[in-house]
Structure formats: C-alpha cells, structure tokens
Symmetry: C2
C-alpha cells in the first residue's frame, strides 16, 4: 500500500460487504482469537509501527501543529497499552446472536428478534492513530466490516497499524478486507465514502463540529453524529455547596479537552454571592479562566485577572479547555430554559437536595445524559460499564449517549411457522 | 388555511419544537384524552371532511389518475373506521417514561435509561389521507410533534382532517401545533423540510422507491427508509409441497400491491418439474402472470399465456401486482446467493422441513424479517402484535422491520448520585 495510491472506493466497499458476510457468520471464539492475534501482531510489528509513527511526527512537527495534537499523534510507549485494550475487547460478551422479545403469536407463529451485525461501518476520524485499532477491535468483535478514513497526518502510522491488524486477522482465516483503510489522503474520498450507501450501513464521524456537519449534509448513509458537548451544571438553591464545588471542579478540570467537560455553570441567584467567589478561587487554582454574565460579575464583586464579562457567543461555545462560563439564574425555570436553548444535548446536570427539582430537571432536560449531583465527566462508555465505546451519540436515533458493542449491531425478525398464511 | 398560502417552514419547525416540549411532559391520561377527542372531532367534522374529500376526488378524476389511486384517496364510508382506529391507539400502552437497564455503578451512581419522545417527526407521504390521522395518533401517543407533508392530490382532505385533529387537541389543552401540515403543495417545501435539522429529529417517507431515495440523498435529518420489498420464498428440497403452495399463494395474492407481497419464488431443481406446474395452475386461478428463468421454463414444460421468459431486470423488480418471478436453483447455496444479490432486505423466507437448512437461511439472509415456513405477508406491525405501525424499516439503524410506538421514542441516560466525581 502506498500513500499516494489512487484506488477504487467502490471496490473497497464491495470487498467490505463480502468480508462482512464472513464476519457475520464467524463464531465468538473465532472473533476473539482474531482479536488476540491482532494484539500479538501489534506487538510483533512494533518496530515498523513506531518507525512510521516517527515519520508522521516529524512531518507534523515541520508543519507546526500544536503540542496537544502532537501528543495525540504519538504512539511511543503506547502500543503495549493499545494491544492490551484489544485483548480486553476479546473478554467482553459478544452481543451478536442474542435473542430477545421472543413470542408466540395467536396463529402459532414463533417470532423473535435476533441481534446481528450492522454490516459495514465507515469511520472518519482525525489525528489519533489509536482510534484505528480501537475501531478495528470493536467492529471485529461485533461481526462488522469497517472502512476507515483517518487524518492525513497519521497516514503512515495508520498504514502500519492496518498492516499489523490485517496480518493478525489472516492468521485466523478471517478476511483481511474486514478492516480497510482509505490510504489516499485526497479529501474527495471522504465525500465518496459518504455516498457509498450500496455497501456501507453506518457512518461514524469522530472529530469536531465541522466534520459532523459535513457528514450530516453530505451523507446518504445514516450518520451517528455526536461528541459535541456544551455541558451545563445548575447549582440549585438547596445544593450542598462544598460537595458541589468538587463536582464542578472535576467536571471542568479533570480533562478539559473532551466533550463531556463542563462549559457553563448556572447558579441560583440566592447562592451567587456566596458560591461564585468559591468557584473562582478553587477552579482558578487549576488555571481556569471565567466568563461571567452581569449578575454573576455583580455576585463575584471583586477583581481578578481570570474573570471576564461573558460575550455574545459564549453560551454557545464548547470550550474544550480551561474556560468556564458562569451565569446567575432566578431559579429552576430559567436554568432549564437556558439549557434547552444552549445545550447540544450531550450531558447536563443539576446540583440539588430537592427531589422535586431533580425530577423536573430529569423530565425537561432532553439531553443524552442527565445528571443529578454528579460530574458530567461520567458520560463515557467505560465509566457506564459498556466495556468499550465507539462513539458518544448526541442524536436521537439508534443510540444515544455512549455507544458500546451492542450499539454496533442491529436485529432481524425471525419468524418460524408451520406454513401459516395471512387471513 | 389556504392551499396556496406560502408560509415560513422554519416557523412551522419552531412551533413544532415548542409543542414537542409540552407533548413530552403530557401524561398518558392527557394524551389518551386527546386521542379520544380527536376521534370525536373526526366524527363531528365528518361532513366538512367528506366535502373536502369529494373535491379532491373530483379533481383527481379529472386529472385521470388510476382507479387504485382513487380508491386510496377516498374517505367515503371510512371515517368511522379511522376514528375507531384512533380510539384503539388510546388503549395501547404508552412507552414514554419506561425505565430500563437500571444499574448501580461501583462508585454508587444510580444509572438508568428512560424512554423519551424523539421530539419532532417529519412524515412525507402520498395520496392516502388516512395516513394523516394515523401519523397524528401515533406521534401524539408517543409525545412527539409531527410535521406532515401529504400528496397534493389530497390536500383538501388533509386540511379538513388536520382541522378536526387540531380541534380535538385543543379541547384537552394540548398545543394544536403538535400536528402541523405543510399546506403549500410546492415541492420545494419537501426539500426544505429535509434540511430542517434544527427542529426535526426524524424523517419518515411513506411512498415509492423514488421518494425514499430523494429523502436519503437530500436530508440532513436521519431518515427511516423502508417499505420497498423485493421478497423471496425458496422452496427447499424437503418442503411440504401442498402446504408450501398455499403459503406461496397467500404471499403473492392476498394483497399483491404491498411491500411484503412475494416477488420471486426460488425452487430447488429436484422439485421444479413437479412443483412449478402446480404453482402456475393454482396462482394462475387468481390471475397471476409468471416470469420464468430458462430452467423453470424447462421444468414447466407446457405452454400457457400467463407464462413468459424472465427478462434482464425482473429479479430486481418489486412487482406490486399479480406478477411472480420463478427461478430454479441448484440448492440452498444458490438460493441464498440469489437473495443476497437481489433482495431489498425486507422479507425473505425458506420453505423446508430441514432444520439445518432453516438455521443456515436464518443466519445468512440479512433481511428485516426472515421466515421459515410462513407467508411473507406477516411483516406488519399489527400482525406482529405491535398494535400499530408507523412504517416498515429496511435500513438497519434505530429500528428494523415493523415500527410501532416504541420505535417512535429514544432514551436518555439518567444518572443520580451523591456528588460523585470522576477519578
């Protein structure tokens, strides 16, 4: 495979579809053996993978990308961990073949639903080569074929990783075409992939808002959009302030660059002057900067270089860093209204000791994850016990919130009869 | 409302979104009361509705549409039945609020999933005014708002029906904007509706393949495609021929114009000469015409005005009428291969007494409904015990096969804690 090779995406799709049929029939034992073989191959290919990754890193450095992006790109010292994660996927239960909603109809027909693979999954992602292995492991476990399109900055790393993955697959006799990579960095292949509905059953974009919108607007294949989180916590009048402060600290600072990190804190007006200075003091220690609405500024009272008035678009900004918006609201109604207007329906929470308020918040906030007295950072497949996560969906069809193995499957209706006919 | 009024679809969307919030909070009791009030209003508006319908019928007759379409368009003598169906929806269990997958995580967080309405559903359909009431009842029951775009031939009927529906809604205090109709027949509003992703959560097209493709290609909102069925039955070597003949007769003739009717019969080569003449004799009595592949022609042997050689595209044609393709295959492998290549993944079945063959067929045929020894006509919400049906999905995300009330919902993760933070 060469990075400049121009190829036939339709052929890739056809290969994937054919491979998906073999994958769908593969037993759990065989799929797990393939996962272990892939983990072994990742380790035995370590040298080649790290050499390719070093070239990607070098090119990225020359192009002047940020340290944060360089860090994401690097596989150095991480390959053993990635192999270990792949082995863990082998240990998870296989959802394929699961039977549910079994019933016998009055006419004697035996009906059940049976969980089956989706078929072919297209994943479009950015400069994170670990996603390559992640997606390969989760789609393989669920009997799906995958077509991957990673960021061009990681093309050499991805080619080396895919070579190892395919080598692992081959040792078990499963088709290597179950995991294919678009190795031509030309962006038009993204558009082409999005219209390959003849072969591809689902598109998962993993990246920023722009990528998600591009997929939504150009795909003829169902797209799982998500991963964009303007997350809110509302400090209600009855909240335990000391405990709430730690929740807010955690939600904002534990990993500020991710989608489930806190963006906006809403504070009940009666709590403002007591609580907002504490927030600014405590979170300020972690380097957080603040955008306050006029009432929050008034409640804060003092002066601080980290405190600024909130601007026009601040309530609609996913900060992905150490910035926090703070707004004073008159109560639950205004908090709900603000969240309904500005949330991206990812993760939003209330901090309260009032059960009726908690119940109303749960009822009226229409987000993938709704929290009472907990950090928004828990919206995560492994935190929620899924064992693995392919994406976090913020749309409402198919799956919402963290998506694990089961969310990579569909079902078929199986109807078994004795030659029944419809009256 | 006037049929030529040009309006702001964005405003319609915003109204629907606002109404959807009220609907989402409405109790089951209130929603059921609204359903009964709608049924009453349909009856009390009968005169106005039938007058509008008569005008639609007249215009349709002048335009020279087919008798079959005229029949679908007519509400005469059907309104009481439609009202009765609406009352039946009130009796069905309400899926909204259902709690599932409750768990307590090791850190003490209480997590569950709660079924919630989708929000706003857009439905695009053709000349069947009964769909207007059907969709209104099912979306209302599930707490969703709906934006409807019916065929322009039924615009007057739909306007009259919506007036009755909204009058019924109003008596219970629920917002009439929960059910809105696009009353401008200009087709560009279809395109606009498909891009109203800010307000609309799901699009359901109900119509032919062209409409489904148009939606898939132009929508930025998730689309439930489906309803297109090239359906197969494979008569295996061990099938009970007498019983199979009745299943085939039923699947082809009981209602030939619908998506789950049989299109292609595959016959094991060892059965051909005994069975194919019986099929042609029995189904011929119901006026069925046949398209036979060369081996089936040879097996038939005789001459019959209803029997023709199959043409190039016949295996990829959904007949929607009294035509049946018949092909002889060498066995299960070839049958599966043919179906994999030509099926639209709607409903396909095997007729066999061989359990191993049945199991392989179920495993390898990736259709929404897979049958063993039964008519494909059972792929239907009410036949499958769903109580109602909004659509039959042939895509793999969200829902597959008959979609009932539950498939008009999504879920949220509810996480209740004691100020837990992520480590």
């Amino acid at each position: 495979m060469s990075a400049t090779l121009t190829f036939d995406l339709k052929q890739l799709g056809q290969n994937a579809k054919t491979a998906s049929r073999a994958l769908a029939k593969a037993s759990t034992t065989l799929k797990n053996a393939a996962l272990l073989a892939i983990a072994d191959a990742l380790e035995s290919h370590e040298e080649a993978i790290l050499r390719a990754n070093a070239l990607d890193m070098e090119a990225a450095r020359v192009s002047g990308i940020s340290e944060a992006m360089l860090d994401r790109l690097s596989l150095k010292g991480r390959l053993r961990g990635i192999a270990a994660d792949t082995r863990k996927v082998a240990e998870l239960p296989d959802p394929v073949g699961e039977i549910f909603e079994r019933q016998t109809l009055p006419n004697g027909l035996n009906v059940h639903k049976r969980r089956t693979p989706l078929g072919v999954v297209g994943v479009i992602y950015e400069a994170r080569p670990n996603v390559t292995v992640d997606v390969a492991a989760l789609t393989l476990k669920t009997g799906n074929a995958a077509i991957l399109r990673g960021g061009s900055e990681t093309l050499r790393s991805n080619v080396a990783l895919i070579a190892a993955i395919q080598a692992g697959m081959r040792t078990t006799g499963l088709p290597a075409e179950a995991i294919q990579l678009i190795t031509d960095p030309d962006r038009r292949y993204v558009g082409e992939l999005l219209r390959l509905d003849q072969y591809v059953d689902m598109i998962i974009p993993r990246g920023g808002a722009g990528l998600h919108q591009f997929c939504r607007e150009n795909s003829t294949i169902p797209v799982i959009t998500g991963g964009i989180g303007i997350c809110h916590l509302y400090l209600d009048i009855s909240a335990n302030q000391t405990a709430s402060l730690e929740v807010i600290y955690n939600a904002k600072t534990q990993r500020p660059s991710v989608c489930n990190a806190l963006d906006t804190l809403l504070v009940h007006e009666s709590q403002g002057s007591a609580f907002i200075p504490q927030v600014i003091h405590r979170l300020g220690q972690a380097g957080v900067r603040f955008r306050l609405d006029p009432r929050a500024l008034a409640a804060f009272g003092g002066e601080d270089p980290s405190v600024h008035p909130a601007g026009e678009g601040d309530w609609d900004t996913e900060w992905l860093g150490l910035t926090l918006g703070i707004k004073v609201v008159s109560g639950l109604d205004e908090a709900i209204e603000h969240i309904q207007q500005h949330s991206t329906a990812h993760s939003d929470g209330i901090l309260t000791e009032d059960g009726a308020h908690a119940a109303r918040f749960i009822e009226e906030i229409d987000s993938a994850a709704v929290y009472v007295n907990a950090s928004t950072r828990f919206t995560d497949g492994s935190e929620m016990g899924l064992g693995a996560e392919i994406a976090i969906s913020t749309q409402k069809l198919h799956a919402r919130g963290p998506m694990g193995l089961r969310e990579l499957t569909t079902y078929k209706w199986v109807v078994e009869g004795a030659y029944q006919v419809r009256k």
